[in-house]
Symmetry: C2
Subunit: 183 residues, 2 copies
Amino acid sequence: MRADAQRNRERLIEVAHEVFKERGLDAPLDEVARRAGVGPGTLYRHFPTREALHEAIMATWIEEVAGQVEKAMATEGGCREKLLAWFEEYVALLTRHQGAAAKITASLGCQDSPLRTKCQTYADANESVLAEMADHGVLREGVDNLDVCRLLGGVATMADHSSLAPEDVRPMLDVIANGVLKA
Amino acid sequence: MRADAQRNRERLIEVAHEVFKERGLDAPLDEVARRAGVGPGTLYRHFPTREALHEAIMATWIEEVAGQVEKAMATEGGCREKLLAWFEEYVALLTRHQGAAAKITASLGCQDSPLRTKCQTYADANESVLAEMADHGVLREGVDNLDVCRLLGGVATMADHSSLAPEDVRPMLDVIANGVLKA
DNA sequence: CAATTAAGCGGAGCATGTCTCCGTTTCACT
DNA sequence: AGTGAAACGGAGACATGCTCCGCTTAATTG
C-alpha cells in the first residue's frame, strides 16, 4: 500500500473513533471523511461499507477483552462475585459506542457477518468464564454459552438505548447470574 | 373531524400496518403515503412523527395483552410453566413488527415517550404475572418488575435482530425464569 | 340549493445522508 | 526527470424525511 493511502487509512480510523463515540455508530460517514480531511470517495475506497469501518474501530478494543476476563476472575469473593464482575465488564465493553451492543450481538449467530471475528472474541471470553464456573461445579446443567452471550447482549442493548447507569444494569445481571448458577 | 380526513386516517393506519410488517418500523414513510394514495403532507398532518404512527399501529394489538396473560396463566403445569408461557407470549407480542421490541422497551423508563402508555401496558401485565408468582411464594426476593421487563425486552430485541426461532428463544427465557423463581 | 369558508389535501421542493464515477494529483520506481 | 499506476476528492445521482402553501372539497348556512 502506498504511504499516503496508509496514512489516510489510519487517520480515518482515528477520526471515526471520535465521531462514533460522539454521535453513535450511525453518524454520517461524510462527516468522518470531512473531519479527516479527505473526500468521501477516499473513505469508501478504504471502507466499502459502514460495517467495515465499525470492524476497524472495534479491532482496537477487542484486544482488551482477554485482559478483562483475567481482571474479573481475580475479583475477591466467590464464583458469583467473579461471574458478576465479568458480566459487568462484558456489558461495559459492549456499550463503549452507542449502537455497538446490538450490532455485535446480532452477528453472534451468523457465519458471514463482517463483525464475526469480533463477536467471536466475546463469545470465547464468556465461554472461558463459564468453563471456570463449571470446573467449580457451580454452573447449572444445560446452560449454553450462546444463550448467555445473547442475554448479556440484550442487557447491553437495553442499557445503551435507555442510557442506563451501572447500578440500573446490575440487578438484571443478578437475575442472569441466578439463572446461570446452581441455587 | 371531516369525513374524508377520518377515512384517510384509518386507511393510513391500515397501510402502515402492512408496510411496517413487511419492511420493519423504519420503512420509508413516503411509501406508506404512496400506497395509501395520499400525499406525504397528509400523512405528516395526521401523524407528525414516525412514533405517532407507531403508537397508532400498536394500539390495535395492545388490546390483546390482557387476554394473553390469562391464556398463559391457564397453562397446564406449575408456576414455572405458566411463567414461561407468559414470557414466550411477551416476546412474541414484542416481535410482531421488526424493530418494535427495542423501541417499546427503550421507552419503559422515560415518562415522556409517545409510546409510554403502550409499554406501560406490557409492564403492568408482567407485574400482574410476577404478583401471581409471589402469591404462590415462588418468586425470589428483590426481583424488580422493571428489570424483568427489560430482560425480556432484551431477549425480544435479540430475537428480532437475529431472526431467532422460538426454540432458540426458549433457553434464554429458561435462564431468566431460573433467575426470577426460587430454586 | 347555491354560496361560503375553513379543514383538508397533495406534491413540489429543501435538507440531509449514502455512495459512485471519473478527471486530476501524487507516489514510487527507474 | 520521466512514467505509469495507485490514490485522491468532489460533483452529483439517488434515497428518505419533512414542510410549505396554493388548490380542492366537505360541511354549514341563509
